[in-house]
Amino acid sequence: MKCYIRNMSAISPQPTFATDSFLTDVVETVVDANCLKAVEPDYKECIKEAGLRRRMSHVIKMGVASALNCVEGAQGAMPDAIITATGLGCLADTEKFLQSIVENDEKLLNPTSFIQSTFNTIGGQIALILKRQCYNFTYVHRGFSFESAVLDAMMQLEEGDASNVLVGGIDEVTDTEYRVMERMGFWRSGAKMGEGAQFFMLSSTVSSQDVAQISGLCTFLADTSDYSQKVQSFLASCGMTLADVDLVLSGECGDAKMDASLLSWKASIPANMPTATFKHLCGEYQTASSFGVWCAANILKNQMVPSALRPVGKSDNVRRILVFNSYRNKNCSLFLLEKVE
């Protein structure tokens, strides 16, 4: 199974939206040292449908704007399937409705935040705006959410039911979540929280303007003992070995305990293997791997590894990138991306 990235779009804590530059002007869009907030576009410009936009919370706007931008630049491709992924969904609306239950003692509750709180809201709104009655799915499994969405998309493309699939990973940070993570000691050892919305138009056929190719992905739980074996068999399923990989792009969050499985694998790979990391730019969240894939695809397209990604080792002529993500030392995933030849 493989597919091509026709176009992609990212709203992230970096100036990544609607720009041709690739992480050249990294900014410190931090609330404080522990939390990265997205750089947001003017949503009135991106989402013309005022009637829908007026009810949209921050995360819905991020998701919808990123999705529409992705479709817009997708060389005319319209999605035959819309697949979204989110760990916590429309968290701010969920919290708003919960708070109103508590504060109003279950009486006279405004329905809007409840309606907007469902996990499939973003996918539904994209379908409404694009007027697409096609396949529409939402995955909500922690660090496997975006991975499930891409796997589903690749199966769709192979099944032939779809020629183009719109896939996105979206999550937001809220104040309550911030406090909860703070109390859990989340960033005591260097991790940052983050948010963002990355969308990809995946296609079954190649086009000369494609950004990159996704050649495979797999997920596994971090309790698997032999990570080298996991990586090896994944690459073998793509017809490769680690020697064929030109760059490893990994998603450590900065907390050594949470990165244990990922770091133990990195310690085992040849010392001359070029590496880079991405999570210090987007922060940690359930669907942060979508930012990793966005970075990898951009490296392949632009044929350069920005210094912002902290590259180690010389890596010119990057043709294949292995993205290794781990979430809370539990959900691990591997993506293989290749340059479109």
Binding site: M1, L52, I82, G87, G89, T94, E95, F97, L98, Q99, I101, V102, E103, D105, E106, K107, L109, N110, P111, F114, I115, S117, T118, F119, N120, T121, G123, G124, A127, L128, L130, K131, R132, Q133, C134, Y135, N136, F137, T138, Y139, V140, H141, R142, F144, S145, L151, D152, M155, E158, E159, T176, R179, V180, R183, M184, T219, L221, D223, Q286, K330
Partner: protein, 395 residues
């Protein structure tokens, strides 16, 4: 497409296992009644599972002191039953996946966190919030039952678990897995009771699907899972039916309402039949979404008329027994569909008096045995325009 249903498991307001559910279904015994597990200011009947969380833990042999969301506990009961029913040994080296779905996730615990947090910056017990996300229950179930293959969780409102079965079959087709346990779970909680109340679609009486006087739905809690495998089971091995076809579409009409013409539902139903290679007239029974809201039943009925013409197959809504169990609905109704085929029976909708005038459609109101059920369609429609249909057939 065409994987085999080789095991089923369910816990709902009408029983803690498959046999108890079946007995209630053929005895026209509803599980809808008073809510007792927690207090709410809304005076509405619900489909509550009478076991408390402590009783569920005891049943599952879990430590009482440990905190689990009700979502995880209900899911463990149903998945355990389904695996045992299928005779699957999780340690036998098969590639086993678990695809669960839920709309509320661990909300039954996290909503308490918000109460505790009120006015206090650091209020609220953390153990009540760590299971908030939907993936938690799936991982808890997998870990409790020793499933260590592919895990995923879907949340598309009330169509969630129908979609879980769909993904399961596709993963089997792509040879990603050998066996998949797929279904869904939702517990009753204040969040959903208040949410549906704010939409003014909770009936204060027992719900009346497809009745002219219908005034909304009753909420319920449940978990329902099926075990699917690619290959036809050997002779003598258990096999309920096949998942012959399915389709997922989006109504793309409105955020909460389904289109009055039933465009989305029609796409889902006709798509599922097409995929199964089954003609509309071959459908023997439709387990309708039939929530009892004005909008759903009108839209679903209209779509059925458009698909089946004047020969609408026998149909019923089992939500009069269980209530609308949201993300679990497609899962438990898949179990009921498997039973309808394997035991050749139609479960009735009771509490029906007068058909919706413009549709003139009448659900089955009595148990029908030896009805010759070979093909069953099961519908699940939800918020956000998500609509799904599954088609099951006798082997």
């Amino acid at each position: 497409m065409g994987s085999y249903v080789v095991g089923i498991g369910v816990i709902s307001a009408i029983g803690n296992n498959v046999e108890e559910n079946f007995d209630s279904l053929v005895s026209k015994r509803t599980g809808i009644g008073a809510l007792t597990h927690f207090s709410t200011s809304h005076d509405v009947p619900v489909g509550q599972i009478d076991l408390t969380n402590d009783e569920l833990k005891e049943m599952l042999g879990l430590p009482k002191a440990k905190t689990y969301s009700r979502t995880a506990l209900l899911g463990m009961v149903a998945v355990k039953e389904a695996l045992r029913d299928a005779g699957i040994d999780v340690h036998a080296g098969l590639r086993i996946g678990l695809i669960s779905s839920t709309s509320a996730g661990g909300m039954d615990l996290s909503e308490n966190f918000y109460v505790e947090m009120k006015g206090k910056k650091d209020g609220g017990r953390l153990r009540n919030v760590v299971s908030h996300d939907c993936g938690d229950s799936t991982e808890q179930i997998a870990s409790a039952l020793g499933i260590n293959g592919f895990l995923s969780t879907i949340s598309t409102a009330c169509s969630s678990s129908a979609n879980a079965l769909m993904l399961a079959d596709r993963l089997l087709n792509h040879d990603q897995l050998d066996v998949v346990v797929a279904g869904g779970i939702d517990p009753l909680c204040k969040f959903t009771i208040n949410g549906f109340s704010s939409l003014m679609i909770l009936d204060k009486e027992l719900c009346r699907p497809f009745d002219a006087t219908r005034a909304g739905l009753n909420l319920g809690e449940a978990a329902g899972f099926v075990v699917l495998q690619r290959n036809k089971p050997a002779d003598g091995k258990k096999c309920y039916c096949r998942l012959a076809g399915y389709a997922n579409a989006n109504d793309a009409f409105h955020q909460t309402a389904t289109s009055p013409d039933g465009d989305g539902p029609l796409l889902a139903m006709s798509g599922a039949l097409k995929k199964a290679g089954i003609r509309p007239e071959e459908v023997d029974y439709v387990n309708v979404h039939g929530t009892g809201t004005g909008n759903n039943d009108q839209s679903e009925g209209t779509a059925m008329k458009r698909l089946f013409g004047e020969n609408v197959p026998r149909f019923s809504s089992t939500k009069v027994y269980t209530g609308h169990t949201l993300g679990a609905a497609g899962g438990i109704e898949a179990v009921y569909s498997a039973l309808a085929i394997s035991r050749d029976v139609i479960f009735p909708t009771f509490n029906f008096k007068n058909p919706i005038e413009e549709l003139a459609m009448k659900p089955e109101t009595e148990v029908i045995r030896n009805a010759g059920i070979k093909v069953v369609m099961s519908n699940s429609f939800g918020f956000g325009g998500n609509v799904s249909s599954l088609v099951f057939s006798a082997e």
